[in-house]
């Protein structure tokens, strides 16, 4: 519906306000005419007559429920650029079949809406990237600006198709294809390192890039996955039926699976960010506790018959048991190589968020972050992401907050769409600066937890230009920007822990109430999700996510 785009209502040079007005008739026609808004309706009808086959004297124009009278001007009815006027052919003296020309839907109806969503889409494009830059040092990790990982994870797991899409993006693939990077990530987790130290076999597996690729393949391809699961299941029962088999499996389990699970679940309660694998296998741990399938689970160790580099034939707990299947995907990968945890865990929860928390786990240590940043593969991945709007549209789709933020801040959107800006942001120097900024901010946040969210935002914006992100001098923009980012990971979690949201967002709550949103709980929820941004909260409450 392109009709709505060519608005010229704000042409400053024109002596009178010239505007594009849309006309709709019932025979499916819709068209736009240029008119001066202070023209009389009679004159306007003549203009319309040139664009359709209804002579001026037979036209009846309806706007906002009113029939336009010939002697009035368009502006007296409040017609503005881009509005739609319905055209009806007046009944000729005797009733003929085609008397009524009902106005039909105007292009304008959709134009404003559809206009905003693609823009928001491209806008979001940078946003995760920003999260990447500036959120890196806090717990929410690589894509920390996505506020609700749980939600995202849920959605992803409910939508395997999307999951596959994500796994198929070149960015992720190139990430996965780089064993160094993955190993780096894994080795950054002390528990993991411990296990690997104790189990040279695992290290070996980890060093084999082909295994990684294989697992990724499997995660992408449900058929392959199913087949692998079936194979392992069969192999397991074979082993089990041999005399010493069961004990062997048990031993396997004790040496590999158990410590692994410990590693993955340890600290998961305290801070899922601290242990990336906890998030990854959280599901599974829950399942293990809940379901009593001891024999099956025990045998989850690697297949003793082919102990070394065939980890994909690792036996599985019964993959067909209800609702544990997804988690078991993760299980299998644990026995294989941790690296594969990401792709394989993907089916269980979500590849992207897992990756997020994986990286997030490494983040608290800034040197890791730096290392990651300087890793060519990482850079390449980020570049890929930056140049692949589709990926970002998808990411954006997970994140209503971001979208509404962009919707409410057209400036921000503009900025984000500026490739120069992106390039500058992505330069390693900037990233490091942002990183150090984030660190100091984190320190600040700890000092000043009692600060209200708004003050916090101001701290952000105040500090940023000082820290030398000077190329983007617009303070207001930055405040929005960082306010939004804070929404995602930084200030919100920091504050939430201590101050009840009712207090934190007291002013915003009052505002919302004054606007007529009376459900306090819902208001608080919206404010939390938007980190106290009233505009975004209203958008959210109204369910206007722009799509």
């Amino acid at each position: 519906m392109g009709g709505g785009e060519g608005v010229s209502g704000d042409e400053s040079g024109a002596p009178a306000a010239v505007a594009t007005v849309h006309i709709r008739c019932s025979n499916g026609n819709k068209f736009s005419v240029q008119t001066e808004l202070d023209a009389t309706v009679r004159a306007f009808k003549t203009t319309v007559a040139t664009s359709c086959d209804v002579p001026a004297e037979q036209q009846r124009l309806i706007y906002k429920g009113r029939i336009l009278k010939d002697e009035q001007t368009l502006s007296s009815y409040g017609v503005e650029a881009d509005h739609t006027i319905h055209l009806v052919r007046a009944s000729p003296p005797m009733t003929s079949p085609n008397t009524t020309t009902t106005a039909s839907q105007g292009a304008a109806a959709q134009a404003p809406n559809s206009g905003s969503s693609p823009a928001a889409g491209t806008g979001g494009f940078l946003f995760p990237g920003l999260g990447l830059n500036s959120q890196g040092s806090n717990n929410s990790g690589l894509f920390g600006s996505l506020p609700d990982l749980d939600m995202m994870q849920q959605q992803l797991s409910q939508n395997p198709g999307m999951m596959r899409d994500i796994m198929n993006t070149p960015a992720i693939q190139s990430l996965m294809n780089n064993p160094d990077l993955m190993r780096n990530i894994i080795m950054n987790n002390p528990q993991m390192r411990d296990i690997i130290d104790r189990n040279p076999d695992l290290a070996h597996i980890l060093n084999d890039p082909s295994i990684l690729r294989q697992t990724l393949e499997a995660a992408r391809n449900p058929e392959l996955m199913r087949e692998m699961m079936r194979n392992t299941d069969r192999a397991m029962s074979n082993i089990e039926s041999s005399p010493e088999g069961f004990n062997m499996l048990r031993r396997m389990y004790e040496t590999v699976q158990e410590p692994f699970l410990n590693a993955t679940t340890m600290g998961g309660d305290a801070d899922s960010g601290a242990n990336p694998f906890a998030a990854l296998f959280g599901n599974q741990a829950g399942n293990r506790a809940g379901t009593n399938q001891a024999p099956n689970t025990e045998s989850t160790g690697s297949n003793p018959a082919s102990a070394s580099p065939a980890p994909n034939t690792n036996p599985l707990p019964n993959p067909w048991s209800t609702n544990t299947g997804a988690a078991q995907t993760g299980t299998r990968s644990t026995t294989g190589s941790e690296t594969r945890g990401t792709p394989a865990g993907g089916l269980g929860g979500a590849g992207m968020p897992d990756l997020t928390s994986l990286l997030g786990g490494g983040m608290p240590d800034p040197s890791h972050f730096n290392q990651l940043l300087q890793n060519p593969a990482m850079m390449q991945m980020m570049q890929n992401m930056m140049s692949d709007p589709q990926t970002f549209n998808q990411l954006l789709g997970f994140n209503p907050t971001l979208r509404s933020l962009l919707d409410t801040n057209p400036q921000l959107r503009d900025m984000i769409q500026n490739p120069d800006f992106i390039r500058q942001l992505m330069s390693p120097e900037t990233m490091q600066q942002i990183l150090s900024l984030q660190q100091s901010l984190q320190g600040l946040a700890q000092l000043g937890r009692q600060q209200s969210g708004q003050e916090q935002n101001q701290t952000d914006s105040g500090a940023v230009p000082g820290a030398g992100l000077g190329s983007n001098a617009n303070l207001e923009l930055l405040r929005n920007l960082f306010g939004g980012l804070g929404a995602g990971g930084f200030s919100a979690p920091a504050n939430q822990s201590n101050v009840p949201p009712e207090e934190l967002y007291a002013t915003q709550l009052t505002q919302l109430q004054e606007m007529g949103f009376i459900d306090a709980q819902e208001n608080i929820r919206a404010l939390i999700a938007t980190s106290g941004n009233v505009h975004a909260a209203v958008e959210r409450l109204l369910g206007n996510f722009g799509l």
Binding site: K64, I67, Q105, G106, P112, M515, G516, L547
Partner: protein, 147 residues
């Protein structure tokens, strides 16, 4: 994208937001174009008084006619339905012959009003009503006469 569900559905949209939404829809043109509506007085911050038009449905006595209506959204809208009155004369079961008021008892949408209903719904439903068996053949007063 599957996000829409997480925010809105259970939220009570405040009156002014609802009406602004409807106002915008009315300005931009709505539905199949068979009905139209807008606010009478752009300066009324309570957005109470509205005008609607219904274009008579095909193959009925109403074909080719344009009916004007007045809708009044009191401050309890949309919890309570607006009052709906035909400005153009019309002969219809649910419409009073004296003043053009739509009788809520005879018009289901108003009788069983729900918060989610909009003025657009009222107008389209009235249009359907015009095309119903008991209304489509009724003798109509001359066009262009008003209550």
């Amino acid at each position: 994208m599957t996000l829409g569900s997480s925010g809105g559905s259970s939220v009570v949209v405040p009156r002014n937001f609802r009406l602004l939404e409807e106002l915008e829809r009315g300005e931009k043109g709505i539905g199949d174009g068979s009905v139209s509506y807008g606010m009478d007085d752009a300066d009324d911050i309570f957005m109470r008084s509205w005008t609607g038009t219904i274009i008579g449905p095909h193959n009925t006595v109403h074909e080719g006619r344009i009916y004007q209506l007045k809708l009044f959204c009191d401050k309890d809208y949309p919890d309570k339905p607006p009052t709906v009155r035909f400005h153009s004369r019309i002969n219809m079961n649910c419409v009073s012959h004296d003043n053009g008021m739509v009788d809520p008892k005879k018009f289901g949408l108003l009788a069983n009003w729900q918060r989610e209903y909009s003025m657009e719904d009222i107008l389209t439903q009235l249009r359907k009503e015009m095309a119903s068996a008991q209304n489509r053949k009724l003798v109509q007063p001359p066009e262009g006469t008003f209550f």
